[in-house]
């Protein structure tokens, strides 16, 4: 009885510690980029990081690339030393899966400028982040804490014309965070295609 009470207490304490650490922090991962080079999230500690869940086959992703909206964001914030990582969690068993080379070529063809394009062929990183849609955006602070998680903007459509007129949540979050202010909208419901787990 005593042993059971003891072990229950230890387990509770451990799970609380784990939960509180986990709630705030973005899960670390190591994924290969389109050139096959491993990229680890925690290597960017000290910098702001944007994670963009992407899938070239998704009309909502294409909305933001044909309109030039995504490339513009990547360049705008890359210039301000924000690390932009595009992640494709389409499982390698799915028909929409793109090899690292294909991802690299598509990004180049679109004139995109992320720090790296990462291929999550097992979908493990997508699952760890609970990524539901493409696009879905995460903004991570220099301490590894999650600052924003959700939709790219407030125009829930696949129409490229909407991208320019929408209120962009990522830009808003980064603007506030880099100015040392708290992020006022830290979470929204993402929209788009389902991540192809």
């Amino acid at each position: 009885m005593f042993l059971r009470a003891c072990s229950t207490f230890v387990a509770l304490a451990l799970s609380f510690a784990a939960a509180s650490a986990w709630a705030a922090a973005a899960p670390d991962f190591t994924l290969n980029d389109s050139a096959g080079k491993p990229v680890r999230l925690s290597d960017f500690r000290g910098k702001y990081v944007v994670l963009e869940w992407t899938n070239p086959e998704c009309p909502f992703v294409r909305k933001h690339y044909t309109s030039g909206n995504m490339q513009e964001l990547q360049k705008e914030w890359g210039a301000r030393d924000v690390v932009w990582l595009a992640v494709n969690s389409t499982n390698q068993s799915r028909s929409e899966y793109k090899t690292p080379q294909q991802m690299g070529e598509w990004m180049r063809a679109k004139g995109a400028a992320p720090e790296a394009t990462l291929v999550d062929a097992t979908s493990a990183t997508g699952r760890a982040y609970g990524a539901k849609t493409t696009p879905q955006m995460f903004v991570i602070g220099p301490d590894g804490g999650m600052l924003y998680n959700g939709a790219i903007d407030d125009r829930r459509s696949s129409n490229p014309a909407d991208a320019k007129v929408a209120n962009n949540y990522v830009r808003a979050a980064l603007t506030e965070a880099l100015a040392g202010k708290p992020v006022s909208v830290a979470g929204t419901t993402p929209y788009g295609c389902s991540v192809k787990y």
Binding site: S7, S95, R127, A128, S158, T189, P190, C193, S194
Partner: protein, 713 residues
């Protein structure tokens, strides 16, 4: 009149996109000035493709309609039919497959000129998805005459009328309330008197950012008949979450004024406090979706560490179980004889432990895989199958005969194989470990079924860790004896007494056989029992004659042995090959005395009728269950107490595989028997401990209130 109708409506041909056929269809043949008319956007999706509800769920986009109407016409919002939950991987979308009619009500201006025609046009946009998503759209129109009166439109009138009736509405007499409770919302639905059980309900929130679409909704019913749906809050909570509004569907449908309707709407203020749901890592938990209907509060809470510790202790205790003790104690005594050098013995100890743990992992893994493929199984599954019971009975009988000295295993196996195991003592030890788990399995299920069942309800990693702990516990005593030669001094010195002990230890094994025969009888029938008994007799003869042959008495004994074993196979074959326990067993399902047998609706029917209900989840192969039944539940004192409190008694017999009972157990957070539940009118159900005492049952019954006066008629 007839002439006015001859001005038929001119409907544009359906627009075909790549995956959808779309058209605008009217309910009536004409527009009547000042009167409403319903138009439907009909989307016929290609097979496997779906479009979305107003809230698309985890991903997707709702269908939109932009109307272009003549001046003066009024238009309402889309009236959405109840959606379906469409899972895609770990995500869930809300939408429609096959075909959907999205209805919109329009009003014709009073000054519309009879005899003229009006063109009603709309731009429809939708996202259609299967593995990929395609945004599609079409410009649609329909031209209708304006007339004094109209008739149902021949092709679509009745379909649209039916669709309008199926649009979810609030149901009369139902009281609905919503309360936030941390990361959960409790939606309580109180049906009016005498309403049939709607079955499994599901809530679809009208808007995003309220309820997590892929989260599990738990349903239970309290004693007053109120249903409580526990809904997981969205991980991204909308700031304006002040009301709980949406659609509730029911697997059996709701009854409204004698009509069956599939869904109702709810829209109630949210009281209490809601916090965003825990960020879900979208890891699929094997077996997690056993049942959407589960009692959140009744789920037993055992921490991971406690589960590991309990499993380890359980493994230690397994060494003393009647099915294992004889075999393992002899193996330990064999160590004490000290035939091998210390190093070899140590490695044998490790090989044995490896065999034990690997076999437990294999069994648990097999069960997890079977469950992942949709089999409704819990721990104890190995005894729910008659072929398995037959196999174990034969195995235990053979082991017993071996201990009794009827034959030696070394004489049983071909000499080449015997020599090989002698040269590979570790393989022999490993196989001993495997055998130890196989013979332990009829003991794990009856004594530890509930605990292991709980472990299996957790994630695969937790479940497998618990089984590793069990294996460690079971293998530890032998492994320690093998590792520390000094410890073996506590064992009695080898001697002639060992032969007698060995013969004595055969009897617990025979007792196990007797019990397995009884289990088979409960699963099948008298005929099955006789077949098994005859088989055992023939097996005994076969093994005895084989020993004579190996002893060099003559080739004819080998033939006799072979014939005997073939006969045994022929006699037992129908049991092994026959129906795999799904057919109702004549013995198992017969309710006895005041006990009613369990069906999917027994308990809810009795509770709806306002009775307190006691459910005994049991199985013939569960020893704890049988002890509880004989010592407590069947005692005159407890029977009287049940009767005087007016408690309805239900027995759920899980001796054979029974998906209905497996689901009911899962709803209570259990994967094994025994489970005892007392449903009390107006209060939450009470779960009693696995080991029952009369006092416990009486105390539980006392919570029902004072004894009712029983009228004997």
């Amino acid at each position: 009149m007839a002439t006015a109708l001859s001005l038929g409506p001119a409907q544009a041909a359906p627009v075909k996109t790549e995956h959808v056929q779309a058209e605008l269809v009217p309910e009536r043949t004409a527009l009547v000035p000042g009167r409403p008319i319903t138009l439907a956007l009909r989307l016929k999706m290609a097979e496997g493709w779906h479009t979305y509800w107003r809230n698309p769920g985890d991903s997707g986009l709702p269908t939109t309609i932009t109307w272009k109407l003549p001046d003066g016409m009024g238009v309402g919002a889309i009236q959405w039919p109840a959606p379906h939950a469409l899972p895609t991987g770990p995500l869930v979308n809300y939408g429609y497959e096959n075909e959907v009619l999205l209805l919109t009500g329009l009003t014709v201006p009073p000054d519309a000129v009879v005899g003229s025609t009006l063109k009603l046009a709309a731009r429809a946009d939708w996202l259609v998805c299967k593995d990929v998503c395609i945004p599609e759209g079409a410009d649609l129109d329909v031209t209708l005459p304006v007339a004094e009166r109209s008739d149902p439109y021949p092709q679509w009138g009745s379909a649209i009328a039916a669709a309008r009736l199926a649009i979810p509405t609030p149901l009369q007499g139902w009281q609905v309330a919503a309360r936030g409770d941390g990361a959960r919302v409790a939606l309580t639905l109180t049906p009016p008197e005498g309403v049939a059980d709607p079955g499994v309900m599901q809530f679809f929130p009208n808007d995003e950012g309220r309820i997590e679409p892929s989260g599990k909704q738990l349903q239970k019913r309290d004693g007053t008949g109120t249903y409580v749906l526990t809904l997981p809050a969205a991980t991204q909570l909308a700031p304006d979450f002040k009301r709980v509004a949406g659609v509730v569907t029911a697997s059996k449908g709701f009854t409204e004024q004698g009509e069956q309707v599939a869904a109702m709407t709810v829209d109630v203020p949210l009281v209490g406090l809601v916090t965003a749901g825990a960020k879900t890592s979208l890891t699929p938990a094997p077996g997690a979706d056993l049942s959407p209907q589960a009692g959140a509060d009744a789920v037993s809470q055992v921490s991971f560490a406690a589960a590991i510790l309990l499993a380890f202790l359980g493994g230690l205790i397994l060494n003393l179980m009647p099915c294992v003790f004889p075999v393992l104690s002899l193996k330990a005594l064999h160590l004490a004889e000290g035939h091998e050098d210390a190093r070899v013995q140590r490695l044998q100890g490790i090989a044995f432990a490896a065999g034990v743990i690997a076999t437990f992992l294999a069994l648990a893994g097999l069960l997890l895989i079977l469950r992942a493929t949709g089999e409704q199984l819990g721990w104890g599954f190995q005894l729910q199958s008659p072929p398995m019971v037959v196999g174990l009975a034969v195995l235990f009988f053979a082991l017993g005969l071996n201990l009794s000295g009827v034959f030696e295993f070394t004489s049983l196996v071909p000499s080449a194989a015997a020599g090989w195991t002698a040269k590979n003592p570790y393989v022999d030890s490993l196989l001993s470990g495997v055998l130890a788990v196989v013979i332990a399995s009829p003991c794990t299920a009856p004594f530890m079924g509930a605990a292991l069942g709980f472990a299996l309800s957790q994630s695969a990693i937790v479940a497998l860790s618990v089984f590793v702990a069990l294996g460690l516990g079971m293998a530890l005593p032998y492994a320690l004896l093998a590792w520390f030669p000094a410890w073996r001094r506590v064992l009695p010195r080898p001697g002639a007494w060992m032969e007698r002990l060995k013969q004595l230890l055969a009897f617990p094994l025979y007792a196990t056989v007797a019990w397995l025969i009884w289990v088979l009888g409960a699963q099948m029938d008298n005929d099955a029992v006789v077949r098994l008994l005859v088989t055992l007799v023939i097996v005994a003869f076969g093994l005895w004659s084989w020993r004579l042959y190996r002893g060099g008495t003559g080739r004819s004994w080998a033939a006799a042995s072979a014939v005997a074993l073939v006969c045994a196979g022929v006699v037992v074959w129908p049991l092994v090959h026959g129906n795999d326990s799904e057919a109702p067993g004549p013995v198992a399902s017969v309710p006895t005395g005041p006990w009613q047998s369990f069906t999917a609706t027994t308990v809810s029917d009795l509770r709806n009728a306002g009775h307190p209900v006691f459910v005994d989840f049991t199985a013939a192969w569960c020893v704890t269950c049988q002890v509880n039944k004989r010592m407590v539940l069947n005692s005159p004192q407890i029977r009287d107490a049940f009767a005087s409190h007016g408690v309805e008694l239900v027995r759920a017999d899980w001796t054979r595989r029974d998906p209905v009972i497996t689901r009911a157990l899962a709803a209570l957070g259990r994967q094994g028997v025994p489970v005892y539940v007392l449903y009390r009118p107006g209060r939450e159900p009470l779960m009693l401990p696995e080991i029952l005492k009369k006092r416990t049952v009486l105390d539980a019954l006392a919570t029902l209130g004072p004894v009712q006066t029983v009228t004997l008629n």
